[in-house]
């Protein structure tokens, strides 16, 4: 075969399901192909139009919409369209429109069927995609959908299957039992004064507290109910609900909104399907007693991340799940430390900063954490205890796989293990006398989230930080100046500006030139408007309500963040799958033209919002 047609067969070999064909077959394939070129916006196929070829996208991208205009798919390099026509006697089923200027290879229907007849794997792929068994294929796809992923994308409110069954607090056990039986529920909410939640009662309570204790059925339900039950909000993820249940060993959670119960979810809703590996991992960590054992679980994080991304998780989901594991390891180490060194002499709260604080961890991260101690703390009396505690936990985290922070921003460092009053001084200084060195600390310490201990210790400090930062224009201007030092890798002509030389020659630094600038922008809008959440998505969602950023701008930035983060994660997953160490350096050639265009758009969004940031708050320092 001639060399230049080899380019075409090489291209096919890189794409599924052509890679499943034997070499001699795929090498002969280019001679069967023709090529066409379509301008962006061209409608290539519409329902019932004749289509006698399988279309393989060589460059560019398309959009598939069903006859009702519903978006079905966006396809890029190496993907095929006109598949359903192959199974419908050459009649297209959907609308195909070019999203970009595209070169498309066409394989004649007859050749397609010859291949499908000879190679079952090839046939199977396309049948699944849009062929004769489309309906069963769809069902199969839905079933195959990772359970874990579903839990991450489903909100608690979506899981409330039926109206809440509740009974007034004045009822007897008998009345409650009858109602449960009549309504066929395993759990009853006990209310007072109308819809105020007083407690919860389950069939386990009937067994353990009524039958086993030979209690009279005439006793009031209050004697056997669990008062003030643990609850969850309707906007929380199903995954969080499951974690809460495992953590507290309960099987029912009332869903509360504005102090009122609006529904109930049970383990049955969630655990109907098993295989919740992240939850299992958290469960295992909670039972372990040695950092070295936890390390074995945390070592599976890259694999977990790969599975999640390959199953189609968003980066928001993935960050949340991966961070949950760090949180679990941290909490467990603190429990162990308290067992080892005794209960804390004064209350404390262990805080996570940086990406763990924001719940945006990826493959393994380093640790950023600190200890905030109650003001009753006396260094002479209690210093040794907390030093031992912090050393134990930080060393433990290092063993587990979260390496020491290169900037020593850890509770292990005496400076970051202080009572509330000292922390107040720190924040006062950072906010009122901003200086470049302090700004570096801000990216870690303004993204704090309590992990373990007495959370109320952080609350007052947090309020103070939020209030102080909100009114301080000079501080905000310094933050802006700092944020603008992270340049977006786009040149004047919208070309990529790549890292030059060294180990990462001709790559894009997706972290420092992509993720970090967005995190910075979100932080500034949050601080400027008194928004108290730290997750970048949540910050931007909350910032939409304020005039400092336009609604459109915030929404574009959310999309850009998701796209950049997921591109970075996919890159890391590829590295993990190849047995390489994951990093943040992406070769643009590894992306399809379609992805490259999106990436450029995402970078332009950042650039625009950096400019808007400067206009809104000015720029100072650095």
């Amino acid at each position: 075969m001639s060399l230049e047609l080899k380019e075409i067969s090489d291209f096919l070999k890189q794409h599924h399901p052509f890679d499943l064909l034997p070499d001699d077959v795929i090498n002969a394939l280019p001679k069967r192909l023709t090529a066409r070129y379509f301008r962006k916006g061209t409608k290539v196929l519409s329902p019932e139009q004749q289509c006698l070829h399988l279309h393989i996208i060589r460059t560019g991208g398309t959009e598939t919409r069903d006859p009702d205009g519903q978006l079905l798919a966006r396809l890029g390099e190496g993907e095929c369209f006109g598949v359903r026509a192959m199974f419908r006697n050459g009649k297209a089923a959907n609308n195909i429109t070019m999203l970009e200027d595209s070169l498309v290879y066409l394989l004649p229907e007859k050749d397609f069927h010859d291949l499908a007849g000879k190679y079952p794997q090839f046939n199977y792929f396309f049948e699944q995609m849009g062929g004769a068994r489309l309906r069963s294929g769809m069902q199969l796809l839905e079933k195959r959908d990772d359970d874990q992923l579903k839990l991450m994308s489903i909100r608690v409110s979506d899981l409330i299957a039926r109206d809440l069954v509740s009974i007034d607090i004045g009822a007897s056990i008998l009345e409650a039992g009858k109602l449960m039986s009549a309504e066929r529920v395993s759990c009853l909410l006990i209310t007072q004064n109308g819809d105020e939640v007083a407690g919860i009662m389950t069939d386990r309570d009937l067994r353990n507290r009524v039958v086993a204790e030979a209690r009279s059925f005439d006793e009031p339900v209050t004697n056997i109910m669990t008062p003030n039950p643990i609850s969850i909000g309707p906007d929380d993820y199903a995954f969080d609900a499951l974690l809460t249940m495992t953590r507290h060993n309960v099987r029912h959670l009332p869903v509360m909104k504005d102090g009122k119960a609006i529904g109930m979810i049970t383990t049955n809703n969630l655990l109907a399907r098993q295989s919740l590996s992240a939850v299992h991992m958290v469960g295992r960590i909670r039972k372990m007693t040695k950092p070295a054992d936890m390390a074995k679980v945390i070592a599976q994080v890259p694999e977990l991340l790969s599975n999640l991304i390959e199953a189609g998780a968003t980066s928001r989901n993935a960050g949340h799940i991966v961070t949950t594991l760090s949180d679990a390891a941290t909490s467990r180490l603190l429990q162990l430390a308290e067992e080892k060194f005794g209960p804390p002499p004064v209350p404390y709260v262990w805080m996570a900063g940086g990406s763990q604080g924001r719940q945006e961890q990826t493959a393994l991260s380093d640790q950023d954490n600190c200890l905030i101690l109650d003001d009753a703390y006396d260094p002479d009396q209690h210093g040794d205890y907390f030093k031992s505690l912090a050393d134990y936990v930080c060393d433990g985290l290092d063993t587990v796989g979260y390496v020491y922070c290169p900037g020593e921003m850890m509770a292990k460092t005496a400076e970051w293990r202080q009572p509330v009053r000292i922390w107040q001084q720190y924040f006062n200084k950072w906010i009122e006398q901003p200086e470049p060195k302090a700004l570096m600390l801000c990216s870690v310490w303004f993204d704090l989230r309590p992990i373990h201990g007495t959370r109320s210790i952080f609350e007052d400090l947090h309020r103070m930080i939020i209030t102080k930062a909100k009114g301080n224009r000079i501080f905000l201007a310094y933050m802006v100046g700092n944020a603008l030092t992270h340049h977006v890798p786009l040149g004047f002509f919208k070309n990529f500006v790549m890292v030059r030389g060294g180990e990462h020659d001709r790559t894009l630094d997706m972290k420092h030139n992509g993720v970090v600038p967005i995190v910075d922008i979100a932080r500034i809008h949050a601080l400027a408007n008194g928004i108290d959440v730290v997750n970048t998505y949540e910050r931007l969602e909350a910032a939409m309500a304020f005039p400092s950023i336009s609604k459109q701008g915030a929404s574009d930035l959310l999309d850009a963040f998701e796209f950049i983060s997921i591109t970075r994660l996919k890159h890391q997953v590829r590295q993990i799958r190849n047995g390489d160490r994951p990093d943040n350096f992406l070769h643009p050639e590894s992306l399809s033209a379609f992805e490259r265009t999106h990436l450029k758009d995402a970078f332009s969004v950042i650039k625009n919002l950096q400019t808007a940031l400067e206009n809104a708050f000015g720029k100072s320092g650095t």
Partner: protein, 229 residues
Amino acid sequence: MGLRQKIVDSDFYRQMVQRRATGPLRSYYDIPAADPDTPIRNVEFVALDLETTGLDPKHDEIVSIGLVIIRQLTVDFSSCQHLLVRPKKELSESSVIVHRIFDSDVEQAPDIEIALAHILPILAGRVLVAHHAPIELGFLGHACKRYFGASLQIPTVDTLVLALRDLHRQGQPMKSGALKLESLRHTHNLPPYRVHNALSDAIAASGLFLAQIAKRDPKGELELRRVLR
């Protein structure tokens, strides 16, 4: 278009050269040339690229020919041809460096007369597509004149000329290298080619041609004359 070109492309000239043509060139002229008023969609094109030992048709020789046919604005890969041609003179060092075609490669290859006899029927009735066509026209024309008594007249689309017209229309300043086949393909979101030889360049030109036509008229209803040289 210069006056000389107008003459060369005219029917009158065609009739004149046709009378002198011999052998396969005579059969070539028996098939009428594509009508310039035909919509592009209904015209068949041959994207063709030559590799030569130098740039002067009088002294230098063709060492390979690559071509692919375009029908209904669709590139047909089954029509791909890649012919090596044995030059009369030994290959110079500089030409070997450029094309990586060695004397040993072309030892068994046909002479230019045989190669021409092979490609002239393919060109008959079709329109030539080339990137910087004067090279292809010059070398093919010279060889035809030398071996078959008359020069080659063929309606031609030069993708470089189309690209120039695009740039002029946009009024953009020209960057160096902007008219190279590779950079033009990049501008039209076409894939890069790693290997370079007569066939890959012919295929590359065919893709660029489709892109240039799609840009002018996606339905291909434009008349051929609008894109001819």
